[in-house]
Symmetry: C2
Subunit: 419 residues, 2 copies
């Protein structure tokens, strides 16, 4: 019958952006790491297979983090008084500069991956730094762990500090070596990563566009993340009508996943272009309230059919926990709706959908526990009070709002328990 | 020499709203539960006294929660999609109704107090319910634990559900019995608690004003917490120029602590009146983003000399951790400053000041580790990375932004280790 696992307990996952599926005392059968089905009792054909019982625990899909900066991990939850410009120039750029030291990178990236898994995230899209060796270590560590990931060696050749600015030719040649070396990876794949338009010359972007086509690889960047960035980009690229067009014109779209972080101030044209290439817009709630001013019009983008995910955006965000970002996405939508009433409030069901099934779709069949999805799953517990027991869905809600990594009792990656 | 404790480690507390004091490898001497002094080495006069070593740990003052609802504890982090009106009528009022059952109250209040202490809060101002017996259990449990507290039996005789609306005479007589029974408490003291103007008749408020004078007891309520409440109050009390004046006219001010929760939409007159009676305005960041629309103008109120504290406001807020409310206070000030630029951003130092020294001043000499303050303290650790060690102040910052109760290694209440 092949390699089969059977797990008993409560089960919650997103059916649609509006609806959470809830099973009490269900049995989930996993075959070769993929969900075979959910049953009220174990089907006869599986009799004899031992059942792992999670009792009151709730099985949920593992989370997907669609935008973060692994090298900024040491800065999480500190330097929080600084706003974007000072935060970048005084703290974040100097920290990234330290990744010319492989020993430092090795220690940071081990800690980053360990913390990410501990918090239940098993799929990630992350920036590295401009450094070839350090970013190579990051992608190799993720591949070795079997984590679905897209990892980018950062490109920037303008308007950054000297120690982080590359010569255009070097930036392109190093990036090509990085693609050649890792494009055959099974799990952790390379992705083109121009930091953002203000730090990239048109020639650099066009060069990256050629690599995108040659290696059929996607791209990530920061898209309309702030009013300053939106204005500055149009000043530097006067022939473009919006931020997103800068990358399309450079030939960076249509060759793999397209990930736009923040997408807080999109124009109609930004939305149209992102949708045309089935791109993902990534909300990073903690980053928004720490260093990025403004709140993504999540409900509006959802209505417009934009694919949405959540990102921890460490270290602009202070924690790698995507589960808590889901709660914060709902909260920010309430604040935005207060100040800009044309923006609807996002439901918890929708935020959880972004954190799991919709964000996970970037990596394939992940982010749900429906038949055919990878059994990348968490078991959460310890959230209910005896005097006021919670339903499985309420358990998930409290986990996202007020839980911690300690509420995760078990973690599964394609059917194997890890962490 | 009396009962003396000496503790070695790092020490951080608020000097002023602008400045955090930081000591590395200091010795803090505690005499009869009160800080005697902080030293670089142990003074000769204390030689022979054993030193408790917290090594890399950071000693900080315990937190003060100036607004919460102990009976709503079972609802933390669930029903989060509901906004204020539905949240109250469909979930919160029915939950409070259950406190006619002393067994339920007993279980909830034990869990509430345990969780509060676990998260490092040792001073609290809390609503009970309208129920005499249940609220009596809450104040007795807090007194027994030695927690500095103000506990209110809720008064409401209008515009609430039948099962929570009292007859005015009963509300007053029960409240007077509550005051008589507990006003001699050493630690957990009674406080008058009209729910808010829309649910109290003028006669009830005037009756409470007489009790305030007779028993020299203070009051707490929800003040200008929403645009609806502000408007509704002026409709119901047309002879008052602002929400705050309703309670002043009823004679409720000037007899003890004055605690106004939320204070999000104060008029000039609200601010003037609160200051005249040295009242506290309590920001509840989580509640604000969950069910209460709007953000307190914290920086502006601080400039106007208003005394500020933080509140968990469970279950509108989802967690009893005041340390995380400090981070959220900074974050909300950034959002408010984005939408209303005349509002300045609050620094982490100021938010920590609100969470400890300023909020703690409501209870006397608590909330600091300066000479003469009660040694109500926490030891936090496990927040630093070997590859990027944090300063003591940064450790506190990361704790508030990304830490959990598990980072609290030890808790002291007036010099005795608890919890």
């Amino acid at each position: 019958m092949g390699e089969i696992g059977i797990y008993h307990g409560n089960i919650v996952f997103s059916k649609t952006e509006k609806e959470l599926a809830e099973y009490r005392n269900g049995y989930i059968v996993v075959e070769r790491g993929v969900v075979e089905g959910i049953y009220e009792r174990v089907p006869d054909r599986f009799c004899g297979v031992p059942v792992r019982d999670f009792d009151s625990g709730v099985m949920i899909p593992a989370f997907s983090d669609l935008h973060t900066h692994a090298p900024q991990y040491p800065q999480r939850g500190v330097k929080t008084d600084a706003l974007l410009k000072e935060w970048l120039e005084k703290y974040t750029f100097p920290l990234e500069g330290r990744f010319s030291d492989p020993e430092f990178a090795d220690a940071v990236y081990d800690a980053f991956i360990g913390d990410m898994i501990r918090r239940g995230t098993m799929h990630v899209v992350t920036f590295g730094t401009i450094h070839e060796q350090a970013t190579g270590m990051l992608i190799e560590k993720l591949e070795k762990k079997g984590i679905d990931a897209y990892v980018g060696k950062v490109n920037m050749d303008e308007n950054g500090p000297e120690y982080l600015c590359e010569r255009k030719e070097d930036s392109l040649s190093v990036t090509e070596r990085f693609l050649e070396k890792y494009c055959a990876n099974r799990r952790a794949k390379p992705i083109l990563t121009p930091r953002f338009a203000p730090t990239c010359s048109g020639e650099l972007l066009t060069g990256l566009g050629k690599l995108a086509k040659k290696y059929d690889v996607g791209m990530q960047t920061h898209l309309v993340e702030s009013l300053w960035e939106k204005k500055e980009t149009l000043r530097l690229f006067p022939d473009c009508s919006c931020d997103t067009e800068v990358y399309e014109k450079a030939g960076l779209f249509g060759h793999g996943p397209l990930v736009g972080a923040h997408f807080i101030f999109p124009s109609e044209e930004d939305i149209r272009l992102l949708n045309r290439y089935s791109g993902y817009a990534v909300q990073c709630p903690e980053a928004t309230v720490n260093v990025i001013a403004g709140i993504m019009p999540t409900a509006l983008l959802s209505e417009r059919g934009v694919k949405l995910g959540l990102g921890s955006d460490v270290a602009a965000g202070q924690s790698l926990g995507i589960f808590s970002q889901a709660a914060k996405s709902v909260q920010l939508s309430k604040i935005k709706s207060f100040y800009e009433p044309e923006n609807k409030v996002v439901s918890f069901a929708q935020a959880f959908f972004m954190a799991t099934k919709q964000g996970g779709s970037l990596f394939g069949k992940t982010g749900s526990l429906e038949k055919g999805y990878a059994f990348d799953a968490l078991v959460i517990d310890g959230l209910s009070d005896e005097f006021a027991p919670l339903s499985p869905v309420e358990t998930v809600e409290r986990f996202c709002y007020a839980g911690s990594a300690d509420n995760i009792l078990a973690r599964f990656l394609r059917g194997c328990e890890i962490g």
